[in-house]
Symmetry: C2
Subunit: 110 residues, 2 copies
DNA sequence: TTGTTAATTAACTGTTGATTTAATTACTAG
DNA sequence: CTAGTAATTAAATCAACAGTTAATTAACAA
């Protein structure tokens, strides 16, 4: 639940990953909205939501017949904390490319 | 291979995750060293190494009969780039705790 | 109550994944 | 070349996972 491998497992499915990205971009959404426009069935989406919730990646808010889902910031923070705890490792080869740090530098000056 | 869900899938197994953490902490290691001290069989370790390699998380260097494995910094950088690209999302609830950012701030002044 | 909509759970199928033991490849040493 | 060591691939098993259709729960509105 609150450990990294479980979080990574939740995000390892492309469908779930896309759902999480959409929830972060658009904010909280009901299950129906996440189901719409996607080719897979509603029950499949429902199961993915359950998996994400069990892993602590998303949270649910019941609103009448709708269930509103949103990403738990703590999940992202946990991943960030892990990468940062190993920062000295991957940063040592930073001269090779501009990937993560350049992305970071972009949003740094706000 | 070079996409996030695949990377997350590679890190979703507790055994593999532990192997990656050990490789980052101790540096490059031969397969035998990763196998020693762990309760699972050598072939199982070998398959895990193959999975990690296919996902681009680790790399292999052949040295005689030994295969030396090490973590590819790019894999960590890719994860970091992703979390940073969503930084405005999880950072907005940062007042709740000190997790990732505090970790980051600690190592910032070097 | 009856019907409608939102979403889930149930039951089933096919695929992938982790593990083991046994066999194989490949390098090194005598 | 023979033996030993490092590591992998082969073959088989069992569990977990993603997907489907069908059935169920729950809220709301007439």
């Amino acid at each position: 639940m609150t450990n990294l491998p479980t979080t990574f497992a939740a995000l390892s499915d492309p469908t779930r990953f896309a759902m999480v990205e959409r929830l972060m971009a658009e904010g909280a959404l009901p299950a129906g909205a996440l189901s719409a426009g996607v080719e897979i069935s509603a029950p499949a989406i429902s199961r993915h939501l359950k998996t994400l919730r069990a892993a602590g990646v998303i949270q649910q808010e019941v609103k009448g017949t709708h269930r509103i889902y949103s990403v738990r910031p703590e999940a992202l923070q946990m991943i960030t904390a892990w990468t940062m705890s190993h920062r000295e490792f991957w940063e040592s080869s930073m001269n090779r490319l501009e990937m993560a740090l350049s992305e970071f530098q972009e949003t740094k000056d706000d």
